[in-house]
């Protein structure tokens, strides 16, 4: 199946998503909830691209390529809206994300200042309440940094099959928790670290890595 992405002619197998096609052409499309080890989720809405003939920007991670499709990853509306969404995400965190996190890097690449914290945001308002799980020997959870991208829950489900994590709550209060909400130590967690590995905000971290970093 043939399509054009930013003027580049591509040939892809049926079932390929627009995001996969764009990335195969070496093009950058921002994402937050996407991890190529996991099934597309379509939650963050940051991977928006323009498609000629469509009613508006589409989420490239869950849109399949069609014959003759013309895609623009630099679509002005898609870019502006994606930037707004990331700005909203920064506004829900009580503290700026660490510079090495995927969130901070996506924000920077979209021209947003992720370092100022909530006070620097134009969407000042409620932020997530601080809540920490530090009782597990290897994994730590800072719930206030969770942006509900679902990557950890899906890694635990799709990659590890441990089903130790779940999304909780709804709306702005959505978050993630282990087991029955009493922390990793009292869940079916097998300490594989897949959740920490995929987390784009350091809400879940591997303690040894963090401590190693701190003692350097």
């Amino acid at each position: 199946m043939r399509l054009t992405v930013d003027g580049v002619a591509l040939e892809v197998p049926p079932g390929t998503t627009v995001l996969e096609a764009a990335r195969s052409a070496g093009l950058w499309v921002p994402t937050l909830c996407f991890d190529d080890r996991l099934a597309p989720f379509g939650a963050c809405r940051v991977c928006l691209v323009g498609v000629e003939g469509a009613r508006g920007p589409v989420a490239s991670c869950t849109t399949h390529c069609r014959e003759g499709m013309v895609v623009h990853t630099q679509d002005a509306l898609a870019g502006r809206i994606a930037r707004n969404v990331v700005e909203l995400v920064l506004s829900e965190l009580p503290a700026p994300p660490a510079a090495h996190t995927e969130l901070a890097q996506v924000a920077a690449r979209l021209g947003l200042d992720a370092t100022g914290g909530p006070a620097a945001q134009r969407w000042a308002g409620a932020v997530h309440e601080q809540s920490h799980d530090h009782r597990h020997p290897y994994l730590a959870f800072q719930h206030e940094l969770c942006i509900s991208c679902g990557r950890c829950v899906r890694a635990c489900d799709e990659v590890q099959g441990a089903f130790a994590l779940t999304a909780t709550g709804r709306g702005f209060h959505a978050n993630v928790t282990a087991g029955l909400g009493h922390g990793f130590a009292e869940s079916s967690c097998v300490s594989c670290g897949a959740c920490a590995d995929t987390c784009p905000t350091d809400a879940i971290t591997e303690r040894f890595l963090v401590e190693l970093e701190e003692t350097r």
């Binding site: 099934a39 920007p57 399949h64 809206i81 506004s91 308002g125 709306g171 702005f172 282990a178 087991g179």
Partner: protein, 554 residues
């Protein structure tokens, strides 16, 4: 929706569950007032789901998160109840009168107060539910506080058609006719030819959904008809009437759908806010099975179709079809990206038709009389008829069957008799919370999909809520956005965060930066995963357009 969780369920129950996690947890709340860890573990053991998944479910639904005392009172915060006084004064009065905060239980466990949206007594708001009794209208709260509530009377429904389609009692004539004279393919052709548009809000042609599933070669035991009875729109009580007053017509419609697409099983998903719907449907199922009109070898035709009823647990977004399917299986009612569409991967990952209650109630007429007769009902407009409902502000609130294309004036003044007590219509919200708001000066607009869309409104599901001349539009914006933020499923980022930010912008009385608000609305419209985040801006856009000063935008 997690493919693996669905696999775990099916591995456990072979595709024939006797109960879902939601059923187990709702029973726990009914038994001892809240969900405990022991309940979550039990739900996991009884369904085959991991414990963490049951925990996620227990934190999602209103019925599972609000504690229950020995006496449990629910207060409706729907838009019709709000419009009755132009405020949520009835909520504060209930809190003060019962001595317990919203969403709380008294220390001694005697009484609890929960928020619910909406009880479907929009014809007599504000409405309260005390145990199993729904009391509504002036004096309702006082009677509850005095310990003597009585069940509110629901007005009879009326049709403006000589031969009603939707409010005539279901008599199985369409099904008899189809089984005797039409092949499944011929029935499908009639429904496609009738251009039966979905009545749940989106208006998608039902025949097209059916065709996808009909073409799928899966055996009938692996295809499903799911009825979306999650009429969550505050201000709507149309499907409530259909499910409670005319369940036989709905069963006939879904059996016809099963016949047309080759499905042997169906589910009706009802709302816990309508406690009488499931018993009414269960009784109608028993009657239909006894009469040979449902079950094995229906009317001797060789076609078999079985129906089960499942009740939800309090969530607006569950009305979205992918969220509905998740909830039907006992999972968190969050939206999934499409594709895959339910027609391809629905209930238990199998081909599924999801249709609204009213949509399916049109099918018996089409099966009996054909597409041409159906199109002739509303000449020059959308084929068929539509049920509409009017809120308590009208002199004659109730459910009415109308032709498409009639003017809103004929509905509001003719059927509704204008507003009560000499009030005048400042505005209408049509089709639910995702519908735009039409100024009272535009009542000559036709009641049909395209005409309403031209005014930034929508036909939606057909609920009509009038706001009288005393309504403060900034307060209305607060009411709507609070609802929107509260009901966001939390899956997609723009809706999860954006609706809370929009609510915060209008929460106080401070002037709102119009450009900032409009940018936020655009972000919601363009980026949201489903119609909740995508549609909540519509009424706010209307308020900006028609009442900018009242809204306080500059």
């Amino acid at each position: 929706m997690s493919t693996n969780l669905i696999q775990l369920l099916t591995r456990f129950d072979g595709g024939r569950p006797t109960q879902t996690v939601i059923d187990v947890l709702k029973q726990a709340v009914a038994d001892h007032g809240e969900v405990t860890d022991a309940d979550r573990r039990r739900a996991a053991a009884l369904t085959g789901l991991p414990e963490a998944a049951t925990h996620g479910v227990s934190t999602y639904y209103d019925d599972l998160t609000q504690p229950r005392g020995r006496r449990h009172v629910r207060v409706c915060t729907g838009t019709a109840c709000w419009a009755a006084t132009g405020s949520d004064a009835h909520v504060g009065a209930a809190e003060a009168g019962l001595g317990v905060g919203l969403g709380c239980r008294s220390a001694d466990g005697a009484v609890s107060l929960a928020e619910t949206v909406c009880l479907g007594f929009c014809h007599a708001g504000p409405a309260f539910r005390d145990g199993d009794t729904v009391a509504a209208g002036p004096g309702a709260l006082e009677r509850i506080l005095a310990g003597a509530p009585h069940q509110a009377v629901e007005p009879e429904w009326e049709s403006t058609l000589d031969e009603p389609i939707l409010i005539r009692p279901g008599d199985c004539s369409g099904l008899r006719h189809a089984l005797a004279t039409l092949t499944p393919e011929q029935l499908l052709v009639e429904v496609r030819g009738a251009t039966l548009r979905g009545r749940g809000g989106a208006g998608f042609p039902a025949g097209q959904k059916w065709e996808f599933v009909a073409r799928n070669p899966a055996p009938p035991t692996e295809k499903f008809i799911v009825v979306n009875g999650d009429e969550g729109d505050p201000g709507s009580y149309i499907d409530k009437y259909l499910m409670e007053k005319n369940p036989a017509l709905l069963l006939e419609g879904m059996t016809l759908a099963g016949y047309a697409v080759g499905a042997a099983r169906g589910f009706v998903y009802t709302r816990s806010e309508y406690p009488r719907a499931k018993p009414a449907l269960d009784a109608a199922i028993a009657r239909a099975v006894a009469a040979g009109e449902l079950g094995d070898d229906i009317l001797g035709s060789g076609f078999s179709f079985h129906v089960e009823v499942r009740e939800g647990a309090g969530s607006y977004v569950v009305g979205e079809e992918t969220a509905l399917l998740a909830s039907l299986q006992g999972l968190r009612g969050t939206v999934s990206a499409r594709p895959p569409f339910p027609a391809e991967k629905g209930y238990r990952g199998l081909p599924t038709v999801v249709n609204n209650v009213e949509t399916l109630c049109n099918v018996p007429f089409i099966a009996r009389h054909g597409a041409a007769a159906y199109a002739a009902i509303s000449p020059g407009a959308t084929p068929g008829s539509k049920l509409i409902c009017l809120n308590e502000r009208f002199a004659r609130p109730g459910v009415y069957e109308v032709r498409f294309g009639v003017t809103l004036r004929s509905i509001c003044d003719g059927l509704g008799g204008g507003l009560r007590d000499g009030h005048t219509i400042k505005a209408l919200q049509i089709g639910g919370p995702l519908g735009g708001i039409l100024p009272g000066a535009l009542l000559d607009t036709a009641f049909d999909f395209d005409a309403l869309a031209a005014e930034g409104c929508m036909l939606g599901h057909g609920g009509i809520v009038a706001f009288d001349e005393t309504t403060d539009m900034r307060a209305l914006a607060r009411h709507l956005l609070r609802f929107g933020a509260h009901e966001s499923c939390g899956k997609c980022f723009p809706c999860r965060i954006g609706l809370t930010r929009a609510w915060e912008l209008v929460e106080g009385d401070a002037p709102v930066d119009r450009a900032q608000l409009e940018e936020l609305l655009e972000t919601l419209e363009v980026a949201s995963l489903c119609a909740h985040g995508g549609g909540m801006p519509a009424p706010i856009r209307s308020l900006i357009r028609h009442w900018p000063q009242e809204l306080g935008v500059a």
